[in-house]
Symmetry: C2
Subunit: 397 residues, 2 copies
C-alpha cells in the first residue's frame, strides 16, 4: 500500500492519548512508527477498559494499530544508549513527557538534534516548554478548561461542561502531525531538522478563540453559553419534536425562507426574523420559539423527511450505538476490522484520509508489548542474538 509518508521513520516515546494519536495519523499516512515502551508495563492505555476477550484494551488497539513496539528501560545506561543509536536511523522523534524529563535522561532536543541535525523532534506537553505554567501537570480536561473550550460549552444556566471527547489530546496530536509533516517538507528543501514545542492549551485556544475571542477583544464582552445553539446561525438549535430532539441548522437566508415556508409561516418572511444573518441573529429567541412550535407537532422522522426534501440542513442526534452502525460511515469504510493475534477480529474506526493516490490505510493490528524488539535491535541496529538476550536478562528491554 503506497502511503504519502512512505519511507519516514518515527521514534515514538509518547504514551496515553496525544502523542499516540499523532503517530496514528502519521501511520495512516504511511510512516513507520517505532513505539518505545517502558520495560514490563508499557503504555498505560494497554490496561484501559473495556478489553477484548484476549485481554487487550479496545482504545489501545485503536490508537496503536500498525505501530511497532519495542521495550526500553530508559533509566538504564544501556537503554539510553540504544535510544541514541535509534536516533541516528530515524527522521522523527516524538515525546509527551513533562518538560525537562527527556533532558534529564540525556535525550533532550538540544542534544539529539545536535547528534542528528536532520531529526524532526516534537514535544507535546500540557502548557508547552516555556511560560509561567510550564511545570503545571496537566491532562486533557485541564487543557479544555484553560484553553477556553469548557467555559463556552453547556447551557446558559448550567455549569460549564467539557467536550465529552478528549478533544484537547486528540487535536494536539493532530496539530503535531501537521507540524511534523510540514517540518519534513522544510527538511526536504534545506536538509535541516528542528524542534517543535506543542502545548495542549495553545491548541484548544486556537479552536476556541476563532468564534469567542472577537466579542471580548473587540467589545470587552463574553457570550453566554449557547447550549445547542451556534454563535452565528439562526435558526440553529436542537428542537423538541414529538418523540425526541431534532437538529436544524441554517447557514444561508434561502434555507431560512424555505424553512419558514414548509412550517406554514410565510408571514415571517417579511419580518426581521428573515433578515440577513447578523441582523436575524438578534431575534434568535423568537426564531427558536417559532421553529420549536412547529417541530413539536411532528415526529423526528417527519421533520427530517420534510426538511431533507427542501435541502434544509437537519439531522437526528443518534445515540452512540447508532453512530457505530451508521450507513454513511460504513459506506466510507470508517468502520473496519483488524486481526489481533491475541483477540481475533476487532472492529475499529477506519482512516478518514480518502486520498485518490495514497489512501489512508490502517488495517493493521496493534502490537503486543515488545513485539518488535528483535526486529529493531537486530535488523535496524545490528545487535547479535546474544547481545539482545543479555539486554533482556539485564532488564534493558
Amino acid at each position: 500500500m503506497v502511503g504519502s509518508l512512505n519511507g519516514i521513520k518515527v521514534l515514538d516515546f509518547s504514551r496515553a492519548y496525544s502523542g499516540p494519536f499523532c503517530t496514528l495519523m502519521l501511520k495512516d499516512l504511511g510512516a513507520e512508527i517505532i513505539k518505545v515502551e517502558l520495560t514490563g508495563s508499557g503504555d498505560t492505555v494497554r490496561r484501559d477498559y473495556p478489553v477484548t476477550k484476549g485481554g487487550e484494551s479496545g482504545t489501545f488497539i485503536i490508537l496503536n494499530r500498525g505501530k511497532k513496539s519495542i521495550t526500553l528501560n530508559l533509566k538504564s545506561v544501556k537503554g539510553r544508549e540504544i535510544c541514541k543509536k535509534l536516533v541516528e536511523k530515524v527522521d522523527v522523534l516524538i515525546e509527551n513527557y513533562s518538560p525537562g524529563t527527556m533532558e534529564k535522561l540525556g535525550l533532550g532536543h538540544e542534544e539529539l538534534c545536535q547528534q542528528n541535525p536532520r531529526l524532526v523532534y516534537a514535544s507535546i506537553s500540557g502548557f508547552g516548554h516555556s511560560g509561567p505554567y510550564r511545570d503545571y501537570v496537566s491532562y486533557d480536561p485541564i487543557a479544555q478548561a484553560m484553553g477556553g473550550m469548557t467555559s463556552v460549552t453547556g447551557f446558559p444556566d448550567s455549569p460549564p461542561i467539557k467536550c465529552g471527547v478528549s478533544i484537547a489530546d486528540f487535536s494536539t496530536g493532530l496539530y503535531t502531525a501537521l507540524a511534523i509533516t510540514a517540518a519534513l517538507n522544510h527538511r526536504n528543501n534545506t536538509g535541516e531538522g528542528q524542534w517543535i514545542d506543542m502545548s495542549l492549551q495553545d491548541c484548544v485556544w486556537q479552536f476556541s478563540s476563532i468564534e469567542f475571542s472577537p466579542p471580548y477583544f473587540l467589545n470587552g464582552k463574553i457570550l453566554p453559553r449557547l447550549g445547542n445553539g451556534h454563535p452565528s446561525m439562526a435558526p440553529g438549535n436542537l428542537y423538541v419534536a414529538k418523540d425526541g430532539p431534532v437538529l436544524i441548522s441554517t447557514g444561508v437566508l434561502n434555507q431560512v425562507l424555505r424553512l419558514y415556508k414548509v412550517m406554514g409561516r410565510e408571514d415571517l418572511c417579511n419580518t426581521p426574523l428573515a433578515a440577513n444573518q447578523s441582523e436575524r441573529y438578534q431575534y434568535k429567541p423568537q426564531i427558536d420559539q417559532a421553529v420549536g412550535e412547529w417541530t413539536k407537532t411532528k415526529t423526528v422522522e417527519e421533520v427530517l423527511a420534510i426538511l431533507r426534501k427542501e435541502e434544509i440542513p437537519c439531522s437526528p442526534v443518534p445515540s452512540f450505538d447508532k453512530v457505530c452502525e451508521d450507513p454513511q460511515l460504513k459506506s466510507r469504510e470508517m468502520v473496519i476490522e483488524v486481526e489481533q493475534e491475541m483477540s481475533g477480529s476487532v472492529k475499529v474506526p477506519g482512516s478518514l484520509f480518502k486520498m485518490s493516490k495514497t489512501p489512508g490505510y490502517i488495517k493493521y493490528p496493534a502490537p503486543i508489548l515488545g513485539e518488535n524488539n528483535q526486529e529493531i535491535l537486530s535488523g535496524m541496529l545490528g545487535f547479535s542474538e546474544d547481545e539482545i538476550a543479555q539486554f533482556s536478562s539485564d532488564g534493558v528491554i
Copy 2:
C-alpha cells in the same frame, strides 16, 4: 520569515469555517494562499458579528489573515477560464462546496487534476463525496451529532449537547491541512498530485470513536454521558469548592495517593478507591463524593495552591475573558495584534506552531475583498491593465 511550506501556492475556493481554517494553518506554516471570493459579496463570514470599528468581522480577520483575496464570478465563462489559468500556477486547490458543485462549474477534480497532474486538490463536505448521505446539506452542528460527539457530551440526565466551539469545522480543516501536506510529500517523491475527499462526519467520528466505540464494539454497550468526568480517570471531575468549581484530574496512581493524603484521607489508600486505574474507576461515584466533600471546605484558590504544590493536576475553569488574558497564553505569544488597514490594530490568536527553525508566523492582516486582483491577474497570469479593467466592468472580477 522562513516557513516550512514556503513556495507552496494554494488556490482557495472555500468559504465559512472548515476550508478557511485549513488554509489558515497552511499560511501559518508559510504557504501562499490565494482566496477566491464571489464577486461583490465575498465570503459570508466577512459579515459575521462582532465587527471592528472599521466594519470588519473579527472572526473573518482571524480565519483569513495573511491570505490574498481575488474576486471571480464563477458563473461567467471568463471567470472560469481565469480559474483554469490559475490552476496551472498553483500546487494546491481547496474547495468546500456541496459535492457536484465544482463539477458543474467545469472545475471538478477529474478535469483539473488532468489539466495539472501535479495538483493536490482537496474537497471538504459534510458527509464526503460518496455514500448514501453524500447529498445531505450539513453544517458543523450536524457533523458533531452524526459523528457521535454530541451524544457523549452533557450530563447523564441532561440533553446531549454540542461542543460550544465549531470543532467539526475546525478539526476537518486541520485534518485536511495534514492530508494536503502529506500529499505534497508524496508529490516530492513521485511528481504526482491527487484528489482528497474529506468528510466532516468522518473527522468527528475519528475523534469520538477512540474512547466511545470500544464499549459498543466489544460489549454492545454505550456509556452514559459523563458530564465533566473522563471515561478513564478517577478522581477526575469538576468539583464544587466554596466559591466555585475546581477541576481535578488524576492520571496515575501516585497522584491519587498524594491527593488522598492532602485531603487527610489516608484511610482510602488501602481501599479499592486507590486500586489501579480500571479497578478504581468502578468506584468513581464514591471517589467523586470523597473528593467533593474535601473541596467544599476550601476556596478554589486554596485547592489549587495545595494541589499544585503536590503536583496533582488541577485547574480553575476560567471564564472566556480570563482565558483571553491568560498569562501563559500571552507568554507563548498566543495573543498578538495585526494591523488592519480599515480597522487599525486588532487582537487575534497567534500561531501555535512553536518550531525552532520555521516558527508559525501570522502577524499579517486579513485582506480587503479583491485586494489582490491586480497583483494576481497581472503578476501571476500576465493580463494587461486594459484586460483587467474589462473584467471589472464585465462583472468577471
